[in-house]
Amino acid sequence: MEFAFDEPLLRMRELGRSAGYRYAAPSAQLRDNGAIWDERLFTSLARAGVAHAAIPLAYGGLGANVLETVAVLEGFGEGSGDTGLSLAVAVHGMLCALPIALLGTPQQRDRYLGAMASGTWLGALALAELDGGATASGHDVTATRFLDGWILEGEKADVINAPNAHHFLITARTSSDRRTAFVVDRDTAGLSVAPDPAQTAVRTCRMSRVKFSDCRVGPQAVLGTPGNAAAGLVPLLAALDRTCLLAPWLGILREVVRLGRETAARRFVLSRPLAHSQSVRAALVDGQTLVEAASGLLYRAAWQLDRSEPASRRDAAAAKLFLGRAVRDVTRTVAELCGTAADGLVRRAYRDSLLLTASGGGVEVLNVVIAGPAPSRTA
């Protein structure tokens, strides 16, 4: 037993950090300004092992477990300071690839995982899939039987990676209280990606609306058992949201606090550096404390996913609740330290923290998962 970070895990974090620092950080603000997706950058990250850490070795990934993957992603967040790209990469390499690896048929695994590991094919997923339909408004996608396949109708908003994706992992309603998971290729007739809206958050992660109109897919497009998404895919995506999508934010928060220290040492208010204020020092210490405390919750949740017992959804939800609050409070604090000139990572993190806390159904869902009266169940 080693309760703290051990050497191999530190190496994984450093792998992510140095790749983020080298490939992504220099262009982060530029890509954010222009809402740009850089294909070559993404390929570099795939080669460096960031985008495919969790894909099995057999398909060209690193074959990392969840704990190690989280370390890579935490490092990537810290090194890149890129909220959007971290999201895009984790959605592709973990939230799209892992369900295929874990729930897919051998044919599906063979078809998708190799090209996903190399970065040739980009996977896409709607933000709303993270909450099992908790926030779904009327316009959901339905799937009805047709011959041995299905016809998809409807649309998905805020589909992460959609503009550049090769395929889409979606759930569709197949009966009044059942949902089924599908993997649908972009070139399927009846699938269309709406032009980019003016995206206000995570601008380096391109999102758009995807429409399904008389979109016919064969039985090979179903992921897992038909009608079983709520028992199979949803808990998995929720668990990955609360670990893999959370991990870059831990790194980003670590970097934001560091920038806060730097700013406090450099910026003068009332003829003295901000760091001379006891209140500023205390605020920065409290920020660092939240980073360290969040780290324990995040890595515990990741570690639980690597064990053979079911992973506690409460513990993972606690990690997200805690880190979401920490990001909200600390980005604000550091942005205030920067004064009227808050810019770069600090401004982006402050802006995008809204997406972090809203995703997966937001705090309303987390509270019920953590404290709700419903009996604990496992699928």
Binding site: A54, G63, L102, G132, A238, A239, R313, V369, G372, A379
Partner: protein
Amino acid sequence: MDFSIDEPSRKLVNELDDRFLRGIASRAPVTDEVGAIPPENWREIAQSDYARLFHPASVGGLGADGVTQAMAMERLARACPSTFWSATMSVLVCAKLIHTYGDAEHHGRLLEPLLRFERLACFPVVENTSGSDASTYTTAVRRDADGYVITGEKSRITNATTADLGVVLARFEEHEYGWCYAFVDLRQDGVRTYRMHDLGLRGMPWGGIVFNRARIGVRDVVPVRLEEFPHGMAWGWLFISIAAIAIAQNALDASIAHARSHKAFGRPLIHMDRVQEAIAEMRTQIDAARLLAYRCAWHRAEGRLAQDLVGMLKPYATEMAVRATQHAVQIHGAWGLTHGYPVERMYRDAPMNVIGGFASNRLRELVAQDLGLPTPYQDFDWLKATGLDVDCAVHPGALLSAGR
């Protein structure tokens, strides 16, 4: 809009302040220690204009404006919050209930001794089952051969063991309203009282009252709609808020005095940013709460219910005061939690205001209703069929590491 008060009001408030600071404030520690309000306190309040401030000339009062009333209340609350609660519950809340719901002619006999502090009143509402959910209350007034009797048990009552008169909220089945205020003489055989001990406001006689067929005069039962209840209670929420503001102000003054006179690392504590930050926050939030309290008092005294404003004030002011006493403890260090030091008493007194007279969350629900957000009560199993109510059991890690 005008934030000033006129010269006569200012003078009146200053006189009260002088009087209360000399006597009642100096006895506050011992009031807390022995758990009873000293008789001198009653004498001194009775000699002041305190009671008359709140009432119109028609019942012998001064008819002061709301802001002056609020200022006067804060003066007494700063001197001793236990005494303030006890006195104000009787002379403001109960007296107003009597002259609002009673008739001047018949109930003047109840009112006058209260305003002279010869008798004390209490306002029993809550019962043991559940704080503010009136549907669980069972105490009831029923007719018998000679008039009315009341039976049931009320709890968490200010002045329970010292009051002579109870203004009791009770069920009253014989009337279409279903509820009444009963003016009950508590000095009779059918009434038993007991003391409850709490974390703070220890000088105040909290407790329960058991009515066992206690008698009530026929004209002393006033039918009332349950919806009317907040009208009476709103004065209570206001004075409790002022108690909180007063405690917070005492905590601030104590903190400034301590921070000016104590040094650490070679300089006065007041020179430390973190101390200034706490003081700035306390001062700002106390001012915000006080101005809101003035506004509530102004509207109330002008005859408006202002339920939404008072409902917002009470959670804000009372929770603010808890934060203020916590800041004071941080600034005082160990002295702040040592028995016998004033800040320790403030720290114990402050949360009583949060809980007393409807807890914060219940008040928030009332305000939400006023703001167009009613409280729905429905059965639910929110997570059902979403997949969010199941743990992830596909063991990604096991499968992944098997691949290595």
